[in-house]
Assembly symmetry: C2
Homo-oligomer: 412 residues x 2
């Protein structure tokens, strides 16, 4: 593998397809300090695409870890004005935001979680303007993955650092379709999303029936006005961008009270560093009424105990068996990637954009429309190579959506 050539093409993809930088736009790039080489290529590509300025902010997770371990408490109760300004001011000039992630999944395991949640809460409240510009489609954003030594060693513990790093880069290039003209590859990818999303939204689906040999036999009803989404997003001015690279999922919001039957996970779940393996749930009228796990049952229990909403599903997502990530058959300990490996659900809160008018609704209104609300959102995988999903439409017709873990011909 000629790493340099791939990095070059990856940088091009992130700038041209991921962000789709507009001429004259400011580009903000936040990245781990370990990935200088890629960042410099991104910067060059951004100016090539017409950026007026590119601001790079390197973060060093080891420095953050030292801070969480050693700084005084008040440090986490306040956010520096300069950190707030950085996001809010650039959002005011409608910058676009590239965030490269490659965290060591284990690094923060010895940190007081209260410090992290306190800081993150204050930070979110102070950067509301920035977030709003993103949520209301005024600024593009894209999250991409970068291989870093510590992360690579976690994913491939059997390899030495260099081998692990190379293998992780290779996996990232595979799942982001870096071969030939990658921008063209994502244009095709986009079209395949559009077709699926359009079909699912037009079918007026009442419920899905999931079945596979692991023992899954589940009915998932859909709320009125459900919206399937997937692939990229449109800014208000029509600019198309991909918030996530990779992305394979087509997702929506299930009817909170409309989930019935048994759901068996097909992959382990890593939650805050702890593993949950071989687990299942039984739902009645949307709520988990029984569950078990061969490993990590107490972790699963703690997830379900978060609040009332964490006992209900908030997301339904389709990913075909045989997608680039699923073929790698690897746990990456990074949601950006792992949630695109397989058909999945999430316990906890739903996305407001997945229900008609949802972006304008309060939490109470969303709940009244059967879109689940919770402080948490935990994805878990259910896809197998023999999964079948059949949709039942309002007119009573039954339409196979997945056969043997993949979309039926209808979606080709």
């Amino acid at each position: 593998m000629e790493l340099n050539t791939y990095l070059e093409e990856y940088a091009r993809l992130l700038v041209y397809s991921g962000l789709n930088v507009k001429p004259g736009q400011v580009v903000v790039c936040r990245a781990p300090v370990e990935t200088v080489e890629l960042v410099r290529k991104v910067v060059k590509k951004a100016y090539e695409k017409g950026a007026s300025n590119v601001l790079v902010k390197y973060n060093d997770e080891v420095v953050s870890h030292e801070r969480y371990k050693n700084a005084k408490d008040s440090v986490f109760e306040n956010v520096y004005e300069h950190d707030i300004c950085f996001l809010n001011d650039t959002a005011k000039e409608k910058a676009c935001y590239l965030t490269l992630v490659g965290d060591d999944p284990d690094l923060m395991s010895d940190v007081d979680p209260k410090r992290m949640s306190t800081y993150s809460k204050v930070f979110r409240s102070k950067t509301k303007y920035w977030r709003k510009q993103l949520d209301f489609m005024e600024c593009q954003w894209c999250i991409g993955a970068v291989a870093t030594p510590a992360w690579a060693k976690k994913v491939y513990p059997e390899l030495n650092e260099n081998e692990a790093l190379e293998k992780l880069w290779k996996a990232i290039f595979e799942m982001t379709r870096i071969h030939g003209d990658s921008v063209q590859n994502w244009e095709k990818h986009k079209q395949s999303f559009e077709k699926k999303v359009q079909l699912l939204n037009e079918m007026k689906i009442q419920s899905f029936h999931y079945q596979n040999s692991l023992g899954t036999d589940l009915i998932v009803e859909m709320p009125k006005g459900y919206i399937f989404a997937g692939g990229g997003s449109f800014l208000n001015d029509g600019t198309y961008y991909f918030p996530n690279m990779p992305t394979e999922e087509v997702f929506s919001c299930p009817k909170r009270s409309g989930v019935h039957g048994k759901l068996v996970a097909s992959l382990p779940l890593c939650h805050n560093g702890a593993m949950i393996e071989d687990f299942y749930f039984v739902f009645e009228n949307g709520k988990v009424v029984d569950f078990d796990a061969k490993k990590g049952k107490e972790v699963l229990q703690s997830i379900l105990d978060t609040d009332e909403g964490s006992k209900y599903l908030g997301e339904i997502a389709f990913v075909p068996y045989g997608s680039p990530i699923s073929l790698l058959n690897t746990i990456f300990y990074e949601t950006l990637i792992d949630e695109n490996a397989s058909c999945h659900f999430a316990l906890g809160t739903s996305y407001a954009e997945c229900i008609e008018g949802g972006l304008e609704m309060s939490e109470e209104e969303l709940l009244a429309h059967e879109a689940n609300q919770s402080f948490t959102h935990v994805d878990f995988m259910v896809g197998t190579d023999d999964l079948s999903i059949v949709a039942k439409c309002e007119d009573g017709k039954e339409v196979p959506i997945f056969v043997n873990g993949k979309y039926t011909q209808l979606f080709d």
Copy 2:
């Protein structure tokens, strides 16, 4: 050389002696993105010394270079609020500032210098509060050097990148006295400065007479109320810190109109990437009335033509032949280091702190006190192994200061 051990000791020195971080203080560290390893050690040491928080800002000179080449003009006419806040707000809480430098000396040579000077001017004007806290001894600061690949290749072009990098680190460790207990070494270093500065300030010197075999034969008069400085500085609360690491010079301000005779440079001068070699000046009543250079005469001419003040001396500095840097016999293309290699002078502006009450004087008042004023300040080296400097005191006594390029026993 066990790089890791040396880096550890260097980090300790920068934190304990350079900054002398106070318990509960915020530490700001600005560093090239190439020097993550050292920065992480500095962060650990800073918390160990009691820092309440350590803020790290990595800069990437390649990204800056791309910006200077490609961004739109208006980018350089404005400074982002977040960049201003970062310095001014931390200065408000009396943080201390570690700046690590390791620039590629050639990188910016193809950049429009107007863009750089425009930005730097706006930046300086917006961060006055921060600068004032530093200048008026409220916040410690320390500039240290770090080896980076591009810089190392410039200093040692005959070596490959890894060898050059290792050799540059070795040189940095040598010149910063990293052997045994380096903090203790700097305590001794401090004491030797104190003695020299005290003696020179008490001697009531009227003039110095410089002579060596290169042809230097120069009288330099001193203004009334001259102050020699060198080594570290005291904050208003008594905290002692070293603004520069390395530092060897003891310096003051010559009498603007009191320089007479011939001054021959002993080392080439690199000015904005251009070399000036084998050059000399002839002074009459302080002003350069003749000069020549075997190479780069036109560059020297352009320096002298900057303004009226650039034709006069603004700094006189003593560095003994045989100091760690002079023994390396290398041009580092970095003022922090090069100005500590040898006895030197500077054409151009003087330091206000080198004259009694100077920090409270206007430019006009400084000039009236014979402290030269100019937009520029260009150091050049004059020390040789046979340089002699004799001081003539107000009482008529003649006291040898340097013999054979080194301080006389008086200063031991």
